[in-house]
Structure formats: C-alpha cells, structure tokens
C-alpha cells in the first residue's frame, strides 16, 4: 500500500525582509499560515513547489512543510513551523508583534 501523503503547504522567506511567507491557492504569497493552500496530493505539491521556485525574484528557499487543516485554515504540524508562524520566544518580535 502506498504511504499516506501528509498534507503540505509551500513556504519560503520574502526576498526583501526575510519574513516567512506561504503560497495561497490563488498564487499569492501571504504572511499568514492560515491563508496557505493546503495541498493534499503529492503530485500537486511538487507542482506548487515548482511554481514557487519560478518566483525566485521575490522569495528565498521555498519548500514543502507538513500542515494540517484547522478551524481557520491550515496549521503547522512541527514545532519549527509553529515558531515560524510567530517569531522568537525571547522578544515580542516578528509576526507575533504584528498580529
């Protein structure tokens, strides 16, 4: 039996300020994880990642991160991705400060 695919989002960092960004279903880049397109199919994930890579003039280092459907949109699975949605824990800087 084929391994079950873990849903993904495409994420990267913004070229100019380095902030974490997510690819939406409408080919926008959002700074909010909840806006990301939750991709439930492996082939589509690769396709979306390739699309992101083509956008190199405005982002750095796109990759696929595990995610799960939540109440308000996709939520991160791993703690690293959860930190990326907030910012550092020692200061109120980054996304958490803008919320």
């Amino acid at each position: 039996m084929a391994r079950k695919f873990t849903p993904k989002v495409v994420t990267a960092n913004d070229l100019l300020d380095g902030d974490v960004i997510y690819l939406t279903a409408t080919n926008e880049w959002s700074r909010d994880h909840a806006d990301a397109q939750l991709i439930e199919d492996e082939a589509l994930a690769e396709e979306r990642l390739a699309h992101a890579a083509g956008d190199f003039a405005r982002l750095v280092g796109p990759y696929l991160a595990d995610a799960v459907a939540g109440e308000n949109g996709p939520e991160p699975v791993h703690f690293r991705e959860a930190f990326r949605t907030r910012g550092p824990s020692n200061y109120n800087h980054g996304k958490q400060a803008e919320a």
Binding site: D17, S89, H93
Partner: protein, 556 residues
C-alpha cells in the same frame, strides 16, 4: 587599536561597492538565489527562520567607544534596537532588510569594521583572549598576531574556497581563556628555555558533531616563521582535506584520519617549500601592527574610593568579588560587564546599553572594550578608583549582574528562536535556568560553573566544553535536551560525556537543579568546584542525581 591604512580602507569600500551591486542585481531578478547565496555569505549575510541576519566581525573582540556607538546606531536605525554578541566575538543583527544591508556595511566601514569572511568556507574572524593586553598572566599582547593573521587571511586567494569554514584563535598565557584547543588552528604565544618568544601551535580542535581537542603540532615555532607555517598548515588541509562529505571536511577529521605525526610531516615538507618565498615583509608588518597596540598610559590615583565602596556597599562588593579579574597593573582591574542579567537573553545588549558601555570606556577605561567568547563585554583597563562610579552607572542600565563565571553566566546559541539550523530552542532554557538559580539564591554558593547550551549538534553554544553542557535536539517532533558532564574549555580541555537519556523541555530545569544539589552534597567543601568534584568522583554521583529513578531501580 589597529587603524586602517589607505589600502584597508579602499579594500573594504570596494568590497562594499561590489556587494551593493550584487544586492541590486538580486533584487531586480538578474541573480538567482543560488548565484547570490555564496556572495551574501561572503559578506556575513544569512537567512534565518524569521528574517535575514548580518554577522559583523569584531576582530579579536576589540572595540573602542566609537565602534560600539556605531553598533548601537546600526541597531537603532536598521534593526530592532539590540544586537547579539556571539561565541566567535562577532555581533549579529537579527532583523536587517536586504535592500538596507549595503548601507549597514558602509556604516561599519565608517568605523573600520566589516562583515567579510564571517561566513562561508574561509578563514573566519580571528578570535583571541578577551583579557588581551590586560591580563596579569600573559606573555605578550596576543592581538598583534591576531591582526597579522586577519590581514593574511582576508581575501587570501588560496583560501577562499576551503573544504569547510576555518577558525583561528590566539592566546598568550598558560591559562586558556580563548578555548584554543577547540579551534582548527590555535596559536599560543610562549617563551622557550632560552627566553625567546615564539608560538605553540595546536591543530585539529573543534566542536560540532565530532568534537575533538586540538593536538600540538609544534611546541615552539620561532616567531618569524608564523605566517609560512600557518600557510603550510592550510595548504596541506586544502589539498588533503576531504570534500566528499561535508561532515568529514573539517581539519579535525583530516588530522584525525591521517594522524598528527603524518600531518606534521606534510606541514614540514610544505613549510620547507614556501619558507623561502617569505621575504620577511610579514615581520615588518607585524612590527608596525604592534605599534597600534600600545599599553594604556596608566593613571596614578589613590584607591580610597574603591576601598570605601568595597567596605560600605555589599552590592558593589559582590560585583567586585565576582566580576573583576587581575590586571597586570596592581592598581587596575579588568571588569567584566555581564550581559546575562537573570532572565535576559545571553549575549544580547540593547543600543542604550551599548552606548552606556561606550561612555564608560571613554570616561573611565582608556577607551577600550572587549567582547568575550562567553558573550560578555569587558572593560580591560580600569583604575580601581573608577570602579564604584562604573558600577553605579551599570546598575542603572541592567548591566551590574554579579554572575561572571557562575551558573547563570550561560553561553547559549540563538537556537530555534532564530537559527535555521537549530533543532531546539536554547535561549528560553538559559533564561529559565538563570531565573531558577537566582530564585534559589544559590549561585554564589555553587561557585565557578560553566554551563553551555547549543540548540543543535553544530555546537555554537560550546556545550561539549561546558562543565555542564546542554544539547537541544528534535526527538520525533518534540524538543529534547541531552546533558553532558565534565567538559572543559580551558588549558585542561576535555569533551563532556553524555550523562544519559535526554530530558523533555519541562523536565530540564528540575534536572539541572537536582544535578547541582547533588554536587553540593558531594563536594569536599566550598572551594571544590563542580568540575573538580566531577574529576575526583567520576560521573556516578552526578548521574545518580540526574536520574534518581534509574538508581532506585538498579538498587531494587
């Protein structure tokens, strides 16, 4: 302090101009990230979890007030009002924006600073003893040698594409304050039996995933041979070192796999070839550099103010007893300013604190500052009569914590709060340990203790050489912390041993508390430090304190 000559000035400005152009081409889409990445790394610009990070070199940890004020200005104008001092005597800005980085580099160049070779597979910022020029026990000021090595290694055409990064450190006393034996190459200034000054050379030390203590390549290298000898070491590494596997590419592996004797033979062979090509101009340059590092013009003043404050003020006394070190001039002290206030981020200073320290250096301390690899700031030359005034000012700015060398004087890497390589957080762990021991009011009773935390196996937090080391890992998607015991970064260098299974985030501070209470029970008396007790007793009583349940099970 070294002053740029025309060549240095023109070189740094030209590099900045080139990088500004590269940034422009990245932003307009001419360069891909793949093309741009090595260029930005050559200029110290990383991309971390939440933003870019600019790592600025503070060569051998030496600053004056003008440089420190400029670092503060950059923190305010281009970042979020603070900077992070690192174990490599660098300062890191965590929130620069790419289009502004060229302006930051220009602002650095205005005070003769740069971010060159703070990343990439090159020779990195040359570090040194943070008490250099002031320590009572040094043979000579190690900084001129460090500066010579910096000049030789900056943009050296043969060493811009090494197999891996390469770190030099320079010291000048038997007591090692610069972690010499954890460097790829370390130079210790020594005297031989004839009273001549030369160098003891260590090679192949390093932390990271394969920690190794540096081995002695030569006990005594004549002073005039330093650069050709270092060049021979690098050339042998550059040709012999492995490039098939990133994790086997550091010189420690090359030395380990070939053996120190074979490595020495190859270096000697190479040295014989290149020695004649050094005309001696390097020695003339060293002479000139030495002229940039004069001893301070010491003042003569009565010590009454110091004695009176020491007698009358217990808070000053605690700070003086803890944070002052012996200066080569008896009427002077070396003052360590702790940037490890309990609960704060180790190594971070706000722009306001930077300016206060700059002011204090200018007003009271011969305009000199140092950054230590232990992430503190040093006033290396303070006449004792000025200490009460300095302490009073430090207190007003959260800089008077009396914890130098104690359990809350923790080295911590940025960990997963910032770093893209990290597998777990370091900073909150350090904050919680410091707060807990402050609450227990135990740290002065515990005495000297080096606790070091890394948020991944790369060991930027030097955990391997901590008396207590903590390594943060990702275990099945959860932060988990391994404890190592018995490490030592001094002249008695040792790599700590793993104590046993790791601890969950919430279990870690109680585990450290049990460990310390266990130590207090088994030490002979208050004069036996943690590391001494560990060496005398071995790991068993410490493991028993860490894992009480396992001990009970074994006893049952």
């Amino acid at each position: 302090m070294y002053k740029y000559n025309e060549f240095d000035e023109a070189f740094v400005r030209e590099r900045n101009r080139q990088f500004a152009n590269q940034v422009e081409r990245r932003i307009d889409g001419t360069l891909t990230e793949e093309e741009f990445r090595p260029l930005r790394l050559m200029n110290g610009l990383y991309l971390q979890l939440h933003a870019y990070m600019l790592r600025v070199a503070i060569p051998y940890g030496t600053l004056d007030s003008a440089k420190m004020r400029q670092l503060a200005m950059i923190a305010d104008k281009f970042d979020k009002g603070y900077g992070h001092f690192t174990t490599r005597q660098n300062i890191q800005y965590n929130w620069p924006k790419l289009p502004e980085v060229p302006a930051i580099l220009d602002a650095l160049a205005d005070v003769e600073m740069h971010a060159l070779q703070t990343s990439g597979n090159t020779i990195r910022n040359v570090t040194s003893d943070h008490f250099a020029g002031a320590a009572a026990d040094e043979i000579a000021d190690p900084r001129p040698v460090a500066e010579l090595l910096r000049q030789w290694s900056t943009d050296h055409p043969e060493f811009q594409f090494l197999g891996r990064k390469f770190k030099f450190a320079v010291g000048a006393s038997e007591h090692d304050r610069a972690v010499l034996r954890a460097h790829d190459v370390a130079v210790q200034i020594v005297k031989n039996d004839a009273g001549e000054t030369g160098y003891k050379i260590f090679v192949g030390g390093g932390l990271g995933r394969t920690p190794m203590i540096g081995k002695v390549l030569t006990d005594f290298l004549p002073a005039k041979d330093l650069l050709p000898y270092c060049e021979a070491i690098l050339t042998v590494y550059n040709t012999l070192g492995r490039r098939d596997n990133k994790y086997k590419a550091r010189i420690k592996i090359t030395v380990h796999e070939n053996g120190i004797d074979e490595y020495r033979r190859l270096v000697d062979e190479q040295f014989a070839l290149i020695r004649p090509t050094f005309s001696g101009v390097d020695q003339e340059m060293l002479k000139e550099i030495e002229g940039h590092f004069p001893a301070p013009t010491y003042i003569n003043a009565p010590l009454d103010a110091y004695d009176a404050a020491y007698e009358a003020d217990p808070v000053f006394r605690a700070w003086a007893d803890t944070n002052l070190s012996a200066h080569k001039n008896d009427n002077y002290a070396i003052a360590t300013i702790s940037i490890k206030a309990h609960g704060e981020t180790p190594g971070d200073a706000t722009s306001e604190q930077m300016r206060v320290m700059a002011d204090l250096a200018e007003e009271y301390a011969h305009n000199e500052l140092r950054i230590s690899h232990e992430q503190n700031v040093i006033l290396p030359h303070v006449h004792k009569s000025n200490l009460p005034a300095i302490h009073a000012r430090l207190k007003e700015h959260g800089l008077a914590t009396a914890n130098f060398g104690l359990i809350s004087d923790i080295i911590a890497c940025p960990g997963m709060d910032y770093c893209a390589l990290a597998t777990a957080r370091s900073i909150p762990v350090a904050q919680e340990i410091a707060l807990r021991f402050d609450e227990l009011k135990l740290e002065h009773e515990i005495g000297e203790l080096k606790l070091k935390i890394s948020g991944c196996i790369n060991a930027c937090g030097h955990h391997h050489v901590g008396h207590i080391g903590i390594l943060g890992l990702d275990r099945a998607g959860v932060e988990n912390y391994q404890i190592t015991l018995g490490g030592d970064g001094s002249e008695n260098a040792a790599v700590g041993e793993r104590a046993g299974p790791g601890f969950a985030y919430d279990e870690l501070v109680p585990a450290i508390e049990r460990l310390i209470k266990g130590y207090l029970e088994v030490r002979e008396d208050a004069s036996e430090t943690f590391i001494q007790a560990y060496r005398r007793l071995g790991s068993a009583p410490f493991k028993a304190a860490l894992y009480p349940d396992a001990t009970k099970k074994n006893a049952a």
